[in-house]
Amino acid sequence: MRVLYPFIAVLALVAIAFLGVKVAGLQYLFGVVFPYLAFAMFVGGFIAKVLGWAKSPVPFRIPTTCGQANSLKFIEQNKLDCPSTFWGVTGRMLLEVFLFRSLFRNTKAEIHDGPKLVYGSSKYLWLFGLLFHYSFLVIVIRHMRLFVGHVPGFLHTLEAGDALFQVGAPLLYQSDIIFVLAATFLFLRRLINANVRYISLPADYFPLFLILAIGITGILMRYVLRVDVVNIKQLAVGLATFSPVIHGEIGTVFFIHVFLVCTLMAYFPFSKLMHMGGVWMSPTRNMANNSRMVRHINPWNDPNIKPHSYADYEDEFREFMTGANIPVEKE
């Protein structure tokens, strides 16, 4: 059920787009209205979510220290895993966000059980996670060429790099292949690893299916069911310049692709995909371990919480204290 429902939901989305465009002829709705709406939801929702997080204060400085702290001069600090300065934290965050430092930490494989070489499965998780995210990023950036009239140089470089092997016509992008493979790995891992299957929710499968479907429709469009790129570009530039027009026949698969992307954008801020924003906000990672050096302020610290006072303590135990020659304030 956890796998099936999300799968059906994605199929339904495809069907809606197909019927909407092919049967009902709602090209404008799917090509213009939904993209604007979804983009607005994405940007608005993302900002709202991040602001929502930011609204809650960080009452205590609670970094998880993953190495030696700043201490005595002769003890070497691990400045990246246990940073005590702004630059250290920056380094830690960059490692975390761009290289998935914490997942990588997990890779140590030791062999004790028989003479077999065993790799921790999480090494694959790190690798495929990284591949997935980076190929996704490359693909998103590549798509930018559709939205600008004049394609800037760095996009050409990126595209050339992505089609390094110069196979196929049109040229085959590695990122497409890696993207689909990595997403498939993440899906199969969820399905096959009983542990992860047990903890997975429909909300974990849905985005995977959705993203896979987007990838597949995109690949279909590029390599199999050819669509009219000129018209697509015209629409995309039109969208970017707030003067959208749909000229001629584009091909239904394009609208399916766009609709799935719209769904992803609209769904994004309400889902676990917000880890994209959350990773920056995590107090265990983005704070310096300098709690004893710089006082951290808790905005809701309650000054009315007082200790059991010494005076009350002495009143209760004065007799015993004087008996034991412990100094007292009042004889």
Binding site: K108, A109, E110, I111, H112, D113, G114, K116, V118, G120, S121, N193, A194, N195, V196, Y198, I199, F320, G323
Partner: protein, 188 residues
């Protein structure tokens, strides 16, 4: 056929046995116990594997009984503090009987299969080890209780340190009963 030859020839029995013993842990947890083979990252999985492999090798004739029992004891020590009933805690031994029996029933010719006498002898050896295992189990349980008693005695639950306690005997000064002696919850 001798039991040692039978087990050596049908090595898959060992894997089946280990899988079934692992299956005695809650669903969802099993995958991790199986997958993570690092001895330190996964002590339960390691110890099950290690003990069962040793025993299996013992029946194959390549490991001495005493050596196998050491590994077995490590495993029993673990199972004695897990949520198993005493019978369930040692039941994994009998799973080997099943695995052998099943394998044996698939054999077509007498040359491939275990003879009755061999089977009976094998059964008896398992039963004997099972009895030893029960001793180990009880020993572990007793140890748990000893640990509890000693923890009380060490003073985690007491008010004065041991040396103070000794001295108090010959140095009876004004002792005031502490409020909230931190031990009465034991009585619950």
């Amino acid at each position: 056929m001798q039991i040692s030859d039978f087990l050596q020839e049908n090595g898959e029995i060992q894997d089946r046995w280990i899988d079934r013993a692992l299956a005695t842990y809650p669903e969802g947890g099993v995958a991790a116990l199986k997958a993570q083979k690092d001895r330190f990252a996964n002590p339960i999985g390691y110890n099950i594997r290690h003990a069962l492999t040793s025993l299996y090798k013992h029946f194959c004739g390549t490991v001495e009984l005493e050596q196998a029992l050491v590994a077995l004891e490590d495993l029993i020590r673990i199972r004695a503090v897990q949520e198993f009933s005493p019978a369930d805690a040692v039941s994994f031994l009998f799973l080997l009987k099943n695995a052998v029996k099943e394998e044996n029933s698939t054999k077509k010719t007498a040359a491939e299969a275990l003879g009755l006498a061999e089977w009976l002898a094998f059964e008896q050896r398992i039963d004997e080890i099972a009895l030893r295992t029960f001793d180990m189990y009880m020993d572990s349980r007793e140890r748990v209780f000893k640990v509890r008693v000693n923890e009380l005695r060490r003073g985690t639950d007491n008010v004065v340190c041991p040396s103070a306690l000794m001295r108090r005997e010959d140095n009876k000064q004004t002792t005031v009963e502490p409020i909230n002696i931190h031990s009465s919850h034991e009585a619950r």
